[in-house]
């Protein structure tokens, strides 16, 4: 029983990071209908920003303040890069076929990965332990403060996102754009501004996720985003792409499933399980868990 609780906690901590990244995928997909492959590499750049900021501001006390500052810094950096990418690569393709946008996104992703290897070097770096790891329970259950921080911060951010999307004017506009791009623009919604806003929120979430990830797995390298991005994307599709609640739930489920597989089967199948679940879900519910399928008309 204690082992099971342990697995659940591990799964929740990993899953909440997936959720945060998945939200960025799902929001951009909701508005622009394309897979933003570069999202995972923006996550990677966030983690590197965290490394440099933490080294530079290491004197800040208490650790919680340093953590907050580093997280904010990573969020700002990710947002800036994402906006640059959107302006240079995605906006000129607004009316192009979706495949072209997809290929462009893959190109941006490769560019950021390779640029990361040139700038930061290909070797993994150690993410500084901003918060000292401390076990919270002593009776065999290994829950540490990092895991609790990761889960709490993610929940807080997701609640905030839910509030923005459902309770503010710009959030309503966002939902309108994702429901029907053209009609929304006919109704006077400034779609370009909404798209920028979507990228801002998505990449800020990725930035915070990168710091939380760095705290729990302190090994950061330029290709870090590839695996996490794939899983987060799987989580987004799993929950029904374009659906914000779906992405959050999908991330948690993928995280839990991975933790269970690592414990009960083998850690080498860890990366396969998320895809296996995805395939099963899509075969039985082609629009994902919470998604609605729009029928194609002639």
């Amino acid at each position: 029983m204690r082992e099971f609780a342990q697995i659940i906690v591990n799964g929740l901590a990993a899953g909440s990071v997936y959720s945060l990244v998945a939200l960025g995928y799902t929001m951009v997909y909701g508005v622009l209908q394309f897979i933003n492959f570069a999202h995972s590499d923006i996550f990677m750049l966030g983690a590197f920003t965290g490394i440099y900021l933490a080294a530079w501001l290491g004197w800040l006390q208490p650790p919680l303040l340093l953590f907050a500052v580093v997280t904010l810094g990573a969020m700002v950096a990710c947002t800036a890069i994402a906006l640059l990418v959107e302006r240079i690569a995605y906006r000129p393709l607004r009316s192009a076929p979706r495949l072209n946008v997809l290929i462009t996104a893959i190109g941006v992703s490769l560019f950021l990965q390779n640029a990361g290897q040139v700038i930061f070097g290909a070797d993994p770096r150690v993410f500084p332990s901003i918060l000292a790891t401390r076990a919270l329970f002593e009776d065999g259950l290994v829950v540490n403060n990092i895991q609790v921080t990761v889960i709490l911060v993610s929940l807080l951010l997701m609640a905030g996102l839910h509030w923005v999307v459902h309770r503010t004017k710009i959030g309503t506009a966002m939902r309108a754009v994702s429901y029907d791009f053209e009609i929304a623009s006919l109704m006077g919604i400034p779609t370009d501004r909404i798209i920028i806003f979507t990228f801002v929120i998505g990449s800020a979430l990725a930035g915070s996720a990168s710091i939380l990830y760095g705290l729990s797995y302190p090994k950061v390298e330029p290709l870090l985003g590839v695996v996490i991005g794939l899983k987060a994307f799987v989580a987004a599709v799993f929950g029904g792409i374009g659906n914000i609640v779906g992405a959050a739930v999908g991330g948690i489920i993928i995280g839990l499933a991975e933790a269970l597989v690592v414990y009960y089967i083998s850690s080498s199948y860890r990366d396969a399980i998320s895809f296996a679940i995805l395939i099963v879900i899509l075969l039985f519910k082609p629009a994902g868990l919470f998604g609605t399928l729009r029928r194609e008309k002639v």
Binding site: L110, A115, L282
Partner: protein, 327 residues
């Protein structure tokens, strides 16, 4: 016409053999290596072109089927204690067996997943590709994560380009056949094709299986050229690379795929003067390409559609079908 075809085929085989002999004796090993890698890329790009370009289904898992072909054929030639499989012909047989396995895998994967559309299909094929790779990662008999060394290096310029020729011929014929026209009609308008009585899923799955077969051929040739394979040679980036070849060359164009394969394989070698920056230049070219020439270099056209001097060789371009279908 009918009597000339085998003759042309024989001439082509002779020409490939002669060219291979000339290249391998006159050029340094590095250049020959790049050329052979280009050949393998041609097969990959042409095969994916059938699914991505002609059938209009976006697959992101091509490396998985390449892995099936590579692993099955390499397992036959390294693990089966039968001298036949170490000979040139035996390796050829092993490559075909491996490719058949890849084709069957493609059929099995395609059957459930090709009912999905667009991005969902892309993600599911990506998922299957990764799962295939992870399964090989966990099979100890073929070395698991350490890879499979000691594969007889039997494929060379001659074998690779014989397969390039065969792939080109078979896929080119297929697209001009009634079967191929149906596949093209699915790309042009799936709903219309379905209402004309086309069993859309069946045609998609068959195209997918054929495409996987040739991906398996490329995998087998790759394994027996490198002499060593590991699961990482068939990761997601490899699939992406093949998609890029098809898109750069022009979706639905066989010669375009060859052009794309040439660019994606040879350009990074030419960019070596830029040292570590070359890997940044390449994706940048891809992005610029999408911005300024979104249909790929050749679009739907084949090279001879664009060269009027070819005269007699000119055939009715596949792209013209577009008018006849949509109107």
């Amino acid at each position: 016409m009918r009597f000339r075809q085998p003759l042309v085929g024989l001439l082509a085989v002779g020409a490939i053999w002669g060219l291979g002999f000339l290249l391998e004796s006159n050029l340094n090993a590095y250049i020959v290596r790049v050329i052979v890698n280009c050949g393998i890329a041609f097969i990959l790009a042409m095969s994916l072109n059938l699914v991505n370009g002609c059938a209009g289904q976006f697959s992101l898992g091509h490396a998985g089927f390449m892995a099936v072909g590579a692993y099955v054929s390499a397992a036959l030639t390294t693990l089966v204690p039968w001298a036949f499989f170490q000979s040139s012909v035996g390796v050829g047989v092993a490559v075909v067996i491996g490719a058949t396995f890849a084709g069957v895998a493609g059929y099995l994967v395609g059957l459930p997943s090709l009912r999905l559309k667009g991005d969902y299909l892309a993600i599911v094929t990506l998922g299957f590709g990764e799962i295939i790779r992870i399964v090989f990662l966990n099979i100890e008999a073929v070395g698991g994560p350490r890879g499979l060394p000691g594969i007889p290096s039997r494929s060379d310029f001659f074998w690779v380009f014989i397969w390039v020729f065969a792939t080109f011929l078979i896929l080119g014929r297929l697209i001009r056949s009634s079967y191929g026209r149906v596949i093209l009609s699915i790309r042009e308008d799936e709903v219309a094709a379905e209402s004309m009585g086309v069993d859309v899923t069946h045609y998609k799955v068959v195209a997918f299986a054929i495409s996987s077969f040739f991906a398996g051929v490329a995998g087998g040739l790759f394994a027996h050229y490198q002499g060593f394979i590991d699961p990482n040679s068939f990761n997601f980036n490899r699939s992406v690379e093949v998609v890029i070849m098809v898109v750069i060359g022009g979706m639905g164009s066989l010669t375009g795929s060859i052009l794309g394969g040439l660019i994606v394989t040879a350009l990074p070698e030419l960019l070596r003067v830029f040292e570590k920056y070359r890997m940044m230049i390449f994706p940048a070219i891809l992005i610029v390409m999408m911005l300024v020439r979104p249909r790929g270099l050749l679009g739907h056209f084949e090279i001879w559609d664009l060269l009027p001097s070819f005269g007699r060789l000119r055939r009715r371009p596949v792209s013209r079908l577009k008018e006849s279908v949509t109107k």
